[in-house]
């Protein structure tokens, strides 16, 4: 039997590329979107999702069945790392962080706690933010997070440990009120 893989067979139960892609998108677009929001703000998140899944379509056969989400997030990560509209991204992310703080402040219960943590997070480097949120916000296992970052699990644990320490320090700093300036969103550490 000769099969042209461009032949559409959608809706037939065949796992043709269209259906595989649709399943992939339906399953993971929200997760990729969440990651994109945390890295680039919601203004650019749609673009990141779109670019990521365009790559996914082109590389459908390369996506490992057992690690589809890490693969997608790695694509999104590389897109962002490769200079994806840097200036716009910085602005978008800063706006996003401000929105998070405003929303956290209006959250009622635990509002202060959430604002404190988000202020502390905002003061960390991009790399620390990413490591910390991959497991806490995006629900990845350590193995998956290591896959996204392209490092070993051991290396991931080391980096996570260091990032966690810096987050704790930033929280302490914020809580003791030694830094009451407006939140730093450029990724620099608090003084």
């Amino acid at each position: 039997m000769l099969y042209d893989r461009r032949v559409p067979t959608e809706g037939t139960g065949l796992l043709n590329p269209h259906e595989r892609f649709t399943a992939l998108y339906t399953t993971y677009q929200a997760r990729v979107y969440g990651y994109a929001v945390s890295r680039a703000g919601h203004r650019l998140a749609e673009d990141v999702v779109s670019e990521t899944f365009l790559v996914a379509w082109r590389r459908l056969d390369d996506i490992p069945d057992h690690a589809q989400l890490p693969w997608l997030l790695r694509v999104a990560r590389n897109l962002l790392r490769d200079g994806f509209r840097q200036a716009a991204r910085r602005e978008s992310l800063e706006a996003e962080l401000r929105t998070w703080l405003e929303e956290a402040a209006d959250a009622g219960e635990h509002a202060t706690e959430r604002v404190t943590v988000l202020r502390a997070l905002a003061a960390l480097s991009e790399a620390d933010k990413e490591i910390l949120t991959l497991t806490t916000w995006h629900g990845l296992s350590t193995a998956e997070a290591a896959e996204v970052l392209g490092c070993t699990r051991a290396a991931f644990f080391v980096r996570l440990h260091r990032a966690r320490r810096r987050l704790q320090a930033a929280i302490d700093t914020t809580e003791t009120g030694t830094s009451r300036k407006s939140v730093t969103v450029s990724g620099r550490k608090p003084r």
């Binding site: 000769l2 032949v7 067979t9 037939t12 677009q29 969440g34 365009l54 590389n78 987050l167």
Partner: protein, 392 residues
């Protein structure tokens, strides 16, 4: 006594709700974008994720195999005798024809055609391919349609019809009937496992539509660049200026990690000929394409939807293969773009078997992506066809 939450616990509790919103783009819309934006099919081969690959030449496929010998540049000199107005004996004029003269002629013919207009650009895509199974050949076709508004405040309409199969020829129909006229035919699963089947029907059916506004207003075919309708309207009509503008779009691609050179990128601009442009803009694109060293006019052909067109090979060392998984076999195909000789618009992209093998005959159409004749400027309202159900 409960454990005091550590920094990670506290961070988890501070997770913003906005992370859960998800994309507003439906899977169907994304698929439309992907299939138009990446020329129709996934690409093969192991690769590290995340590094964008070069902008695809129009509708290339899984595997690239060298098919094309370098173009022979045989200069044919033609003596053209002209008469001056006083009917005096004319001097002989040596006029070497330009390569791809047919394309330059086409550009000359169309550039002064009246530009169309309308609130919407309707793009009808009909994709087809052949499936060989059970001693007969089936043509599997699907259809999708996009109404892209000139004003991004207006909604974008997309409609998709489920693919269906029908016997490719009268002889195939006889064999299909002899096999008991099965309502569904067995397809082939890429994994080689037992799979489902394709319904046999005269035309694609089971339509689903979406109707929603897209404030960004990016035209769905992104193979050349991310154009708004205004961007497209602003493309120059002078070839040198157009090249300059295209170089800027190439630079955007390049900055995103694409490694294809500007010269390698240019053939993909043939896809602009299926976008909402004026005849003068199309003429400029055709002139740019005609001047590329890799461009070769193949000749007049009939496209898969039965329309006369000019077949063009935009060259390059690449062809693509059709394959079967069990056993794994591959068939090189020739790839052609077919242009409308009256308007310069792209009619279809077609792949032909490059040799007789695996049940295919050399020159046979293996797959195509055709633009329906209904494509073009139209007016509102953008509304789905009767019976089309709302999709997600």
């Amino acid at each position: 006594m409960s454990r005091k939450p550590d920094a990670m616990d506290r961070l988890a509790m501070a997770r913003p709700a906005s992370l859960d919103r998800g994309s507003r783009v439906s899977a169907a819309d994304m698929l439309v974008t992907a299939t138009t934006g990446s020329a129709g099919e996934p690409s093969p081969g192991p690769s590290r994720p995340g590094r964008l690959r070069p902008a695809a030449a129009p509708a290339r496929s899984r595997r690239w195999t060298p098919l094309w010998a370098p173009l022979a540049t045989t200069a044919i000199v033609v003596l053209v005798f002209t008469l001056v107005t006083n009917l005096a004996p004319a001097p002989a004029v040596l006029t070497p024809p330009r390569a791809n003269q047919e394309l330059f002629d086409l550009a000359d013919r169309i550039e002064r055609l009246p530009a169309g207009g309308g609130a919407y650009w309707r793009e009808v895509a009909v994709d087809g391919g052949h499936l060989f199974s059970g001693g007969y050949t089936l043509l599997v076709v699907d259809r999708r349609e996009t109404w892209q508004p000139r004003d991004p405040a207006d909604p974008v309409l997309t409609q998709r019809w489920r693919g269906s199969a029908r016997p490719a020829t009268a002889a195939d129909e006889r064999r299909w009937r002899a096999a008991g006229s099965p309502a569904r035919v067995k397809g082939h699963c890429e994994t080689g496992e037992s799979c489902g089947s394709v319904p046999v029907a005269a035309a694609p059916e089971d339509c689903r539509y979406t109707l929603r506004t897209d404030p960004a207003g990016i035209y769905p075919d992104r193979t050349v660049g991310e154009f708004t309708m205004a961007d497209l309207a602003a493309l120059p009509t002078e070839p040198a200026e157009l090249r300059k503008r295209l170089r800027a779009y190439h630079a955007i691609w390049y900055s995103r990690g694409f490694t294809r050179s500007f010269e390698e990128f240019l053939p993909s601009t043939v896809n602009l000929l299926g976008m909402p442009l004026s005849p003068a803009q199309r003429a400029a694109i055709i002139r740019v394409l005609a001047g590329l060293p890799t461009t070769k006019v193949v000749g007049a052909v009939t496209d898969p939807l039965g329309r006369r067109g000019i077949s063009v090979d935009f060259g390059g060392p690449e062809g693509f293969v059709v394959y079967s998984e069990k056993p794994r076999e591959e068939l090189p195909v020739r790839y052609r773009q077919i242009l409308d000789p009256e308007t310069g618009e792209k009619l279809s992209s077609v792949s032909y078997a490059a040799r007789t093998a695996l049940g295919a005959t050399e020159g046979q159409i293996m797959a195509y992506q055709a633009r329906g004749s209904e494509s073009g400027w139209t007016g509102p309202p953008a509304s789905p066809v009767k019976g089309c159900e709302k999709g997600r």
